[in-house]
């Protein structure tokens, strides 16, 4: 069955099992490996992508559910907040093993795209679904604040 949607700004049609999670469609059918598999149950956030501008867990999102919609993966980040997040991640040396960081960057970007000046409570609410076993949380928090500042400036 073929399903059409917009992936990273490009019209995309995939001939794949409509029940296949978006995560695996993006990774194995399209060939974009930045989005990661961590739990398969929307419990860890490693697979976070944007669906119509909102952070969602692609490991539980059936491909059929994204038909006609806009999907953005780490490879397609373009917005000013996204670039600010990535720059802050480098400036504050956030990643350790790095495996969860695509998902962290996607969640942080969605947060800043919807809230230009998040409080610590906003950060907790937006980021607590993204597990980092290296526990880079302090730096993630600081980097989100730094990115928010740089977007404002």
């Amino acid at each position: 069955m073929s399903i059409s949607f917009v992936l990273n700004g490009k019209s995309t049609t995939l001939d794949a099992d409509p029940n296949m999670p978006l995560l695996w469609a993006v990774r194995e059918v399209v060939g974009l490996p930045g989005t990661k598999f961590g739990c398969g149950m929307a419990l860890c956030g490693a697979c976070t992508v944007h669906l119509d501008g909102q952070a969602i867990r692609s490991c539980v999102m059936p491909l059929s559910a994204v038909a006609g919609r806009q999907v953005t993966t780490i490879e397609g980040l373009q917005s000013k907040p996204a670039k600010a997040v990535q720059a802050a991640w480098i400036a504050l040396q956030v990643p350790q093993c790095g495996y969860c960081q695509s998902g962290q960057v996607m969640s942080a970007t969605a947060l800043l795209e919807n809230n230009a000046a998040p409080t610590d409570a906003d950060i907790d609410a937006a980021m607590s679904g993204n597990i980092c076993r290296c526990a880079t949380y302090s730096r993630i928090r600081a980097a989100i604040h730094a990115a928010a500042q740089s977007v404002k400036a």
């Binding site: 060939g31 149950m41 990535q86 093993c97 790095g98 076993r133 290296c134 880079t136």
Partner: protein, 734 residues
């Protein structure tokens, strides 16, 4: 009492020291077992120079005609910063331009790339990457620098003494001549490697001790960093294994038909660990595995629950045990003491749960086996893969990729996930088809190789004045090293990884007895970040807090008095207390401050935790102040990051971490039932690094050890309640 009797005997060697000093029997066993594992590949070896060829003066460094500096890492990068640390040491002595430095992973080759702390094994663990590489890589960089200087001197017909190197460029100040490294590689490659080289005075360090940015960060921010999950090879298939529901069960029979009916499933094969579904995609393999019907033979499986196991451990704690450390007569001292304190502590099985579920890609042919993995024990995995495939180790090559976390999980002597992948490729036909074995999170949590369960019982005797006169500590649990190639390190019944942090207790106590009872169960176990100190330090530091309280003394000053003979440990304790404002006195109602100190892998760490406990008993860890002495700080920012991360990792474990068994079945499936620390639970962390010119020691693990007891002691300060069973009780749960 003389000063001498207060001075404790030489410590039990740490695991690292054991591995390095290696009781000669161990060293020999490891050498015999793995010497033949050396690869025949000679990448990076000296070859005759040809035009445009890189300059490769040793196994760790290659300099290109384009000025690129490639450092070859013998250690895996799993988040701990090893690649950056390794590159920093080489680049420092080389005086390289940091922006031109790249890192690539070394092939599996024990001859060139052994971890010098492990004897003849190439691998990463025990927080040893920097410690064992320090002099090796300083010399590698320094010798290359000397050869580049000699090459410039030769090209310019000038004395070497008149030349200097800065940021990848050789200068002659008087004539204002300069040459980049790249322009010198051809001449340098023709020169002999010097026997000796004068290394830098640490005062001249420009990278070491500074905050060189991590080499792996940019690729880990834009999704381009390559993990094993991301390996794609032409014709590659994906495999999942259905494993038995009980440890020790085996396949009785299976029906592949329902799996074969799933579109994309290519083949169903039986392997020693279960039944594998090989498919064209993860999704097909997953659906195929869900459909597969397997009947298991659980005749010899472990069917006990973790409660029954702990009951047995408790019983064993009353029985005679093997002595790990004996000084004076602890039993008599405690019997005669004016006051006695006792407590027991229970520790659960813990999963490593790295973010990247275990995975490996294997391309097995008739006479070769190529492996891609976030490999932590390269030459052990090479040997095990070879044995599984029926090949010689030289026919097995390993591409070590970034590991999406490990915390010890990928460092196991049976190479479980690698062997599984090879066994699937073999059962599939060993026809050169690349196969990626993928574990799911459920596979990870059900898959064993846990930090063992332990039971500790402690007893102390105090004098009238509250001084410690005797200390008795009994540990019960499984041995990590038993039945592995590390078994020769078990001496007189003591697996050093079971007692490190307890037998090595640093406090000055005249009578000490530390003993170990080792038990066998059917649950596969493994080291977990900071190994023995993940439980021993909790027991020691929670108990010494109870002792200080019984003595009516402040827990910081009580510890400090017992550490007069341990300047580095005492210094981190004092630094953490000072920075945390310990002398400000008790905190307001509902809040508490606790302290703990540890030595792990020769690194000293002290932490002060501050907690808030609300009326319902809910604990919030507000702040952790950490002081660390790891010798010469190679990269202060990475040291800070490892302390922050170690605190978060250790905190998640004591708050929530527990793998439990019911009738042999693991009760946790995913991150909903195996809780780990999340963003909203991360305390503010402050890290203070002790300036030092001692040889560097590791930072990947030691920061994990003190956080649990520091928080438990803080909870006591806030509530008057001691914690004796891990993980911490949940509010409202008795």
């Amino acid at each position: 009492m003389t000063h001498d009797t207060l001075t404790r005997a030489p410590r039990q060697p740490t695991r690292r020291a054991f591995l390095k000093g290696a009781g000669s029997a161990t060293a020999m066993a490891l050498t015999i077992g793995f010497e033949w594992a050396a690869s025949t590949r000679r990448a990076g070896a000296i070859t005759a120079p040809v035009a445009g060829a890189p300059f490769a003066p040793n196994a760790f460094l290659r300099i290109g005609a384009d000025d690129s500096v490639t450092v070859i890492a013998k250690h895996v990068e799993m988040g701990q910063g090893a690649y950056t640390g390794i590159a920093t040491i080489v680049a420092e002595e080389l005086d390289a331009d940091w922006s031109r430095v790249r890192v690539e992973s070394a092939p599996a080759d024990a001859k060139r790339y052994a971890n010098l702390a492990f004897g003849t094994i190439q691998g990463t663990g025990g927080s040893s990457a920097m410690a064992n590489s320090w002099m090796q890589l300083r010399e590698a960089g320094g010798k290359a620098r000397a050869m580049l200087l000699a090459a410039a001197a030769k090209q310019w017909h000038l004395p070497v003494a008149e030349l200097t190197v800065d940021n990848g460029i050789v200068h002659h100040a008087a004539s204002k001549r300069q040459a980049t490294f790249g322009s010198l590689v051809k001449t340098a490659a023709s020169l002999p490697v010097p026997e000796k080289v004068t290394l830098k005075d640490p005062k001249e360090f420009a990278l070491i001790g500074h905050r060189a940015p991590r080499v792996d960060v940019p690729a880990k921010v834009d999704g381009s960093a390559q993990f094993t999950l991301d390996v794609v090879l032409p014709g590659m298939l994906v495999a999942l294994i259905k494993r038995p529901p009980l440890f020790g069960a085996t396949v009785k029979s299976f029906d592949a038909a329902p799996a074969n009916a799933i579109p994309g499933v290519v083949k169903v094969v039986q392997v020693p660990r279960g039944v594998a579904v090989v498919a064209k995609s993860f999704w097909a393999a997953k659906q195929g595995r869900d459909a597969l019907m397997v009947e298991w033979d659980d005749t010899s499986a472990e069917k006990r629950g973790s409660g029954a196991l702990m009951d047995e451990y408790r019983r064993l704690a009353e029985q005679p045990a093997s002595a790990a450390r004996t000084e004076g007569d602890a039993a008599q001292a405690i019997a005669k003491a004016a006051r006695r304190v006792s407590a027991s502590y229970e520790f659960p099985f813990l999963a490593h749960a790295p973010m990247e579920p275990l995975d490996a890609v294997v391309k097995l042919g008739a006479s070769s086996c190529e492996i891609w993995a976030g490999d932590q024990f390269q030459t052990i995995d090479q040997a095990n893969a070879a044995k599984t495939a029926g090949l010689d180790p030289q026919q097995v090559s390993i591409h070590t990729l970034y590991a999406g976390g490990s915390f010890g999980r990928r460092a196991n002597t049976v190479s479980d996930y690698i062997v599984e992948a090879v066994s699937i490729a073999k059962a599939y036909g060993a026809d050169g088809t690349p196969i990626k074995l993928q574990w799911t999170r459920e596979d990870d949590l059900h898959g064993g190789m846990y930090r063992p369960m332990y039971f500790h019982t402690l007893e102390a005797g105090l004098t009238e004045k509250g001084e410690l006169s005797g200390w008795r500590h009994v540990i019960v649990g499984q041995s990590i090293m038993a039945d592995t190639l590390f078994a020769p390190m078990i001496k007189n019944g003591i697996d050093p990884t079971s007692v490190e942090g307890a037998a090595s207790i640093a406090y000055a106590i005249p009578n000490i007895s530390v003993a170990l009872s080792t038990i066998k169960t059917g649950v596969p176990i493994l080291w977990w970040r900071v190994v023995g100190s993940s439980h021993t330090v909790f027991a020691v530091e929670a108990f010494i807090d109870e002792v200080a309280h019984a003595a009516g003394e402040d827990p910081f000053t009580y510890r400090r008095k017992l550490l007069e003979h341990e300047p580095r440990m005492k210094a981190v304790l004092e630094l953490a207390a000072e920075k945390a404002g310990w002398s400000n006195g008790p905190m307001p109602k509902g809040k508490g401050r606790g302290i703990a100190v540890a030595e792990a892998f020769k690194t000293f760490v002290a932490q002060v935790a501050e907690v808030s406990v609300d009326e319902t008993g809910h604990v919030t860890v507000d702040r952790v102040v950490c002081a660390v002495d790891c010798g010469t700080p190679i990269n202060p920012d990475i040291i800070t990051a490892q302390m922050e991360g170690g605190i978060g990792f250790g905190l998640g474990a004591v708050l929530y971490g527990s793998i439990t068994l019911k009738d042999g079945h693991v009760e946790q499936d995913n991150f909903n039932s195996y809780r780990v620390l999340r963003m909203n639970e991360m305390p503010t962390v402050e890290v203070h690094i002790v300036p030092s010119t001692e040889a560097p020691t590791g930072v990947g693990e030691p920061g994990v050890a003190p956080v649990g007891p520091a928080v438990a002691n803080a909870i006591f300060a806030a509530t008057g309640t001691r914690i004796h069973v891990l993980p911490f009780p949940k509010p409202g749960v008795a």
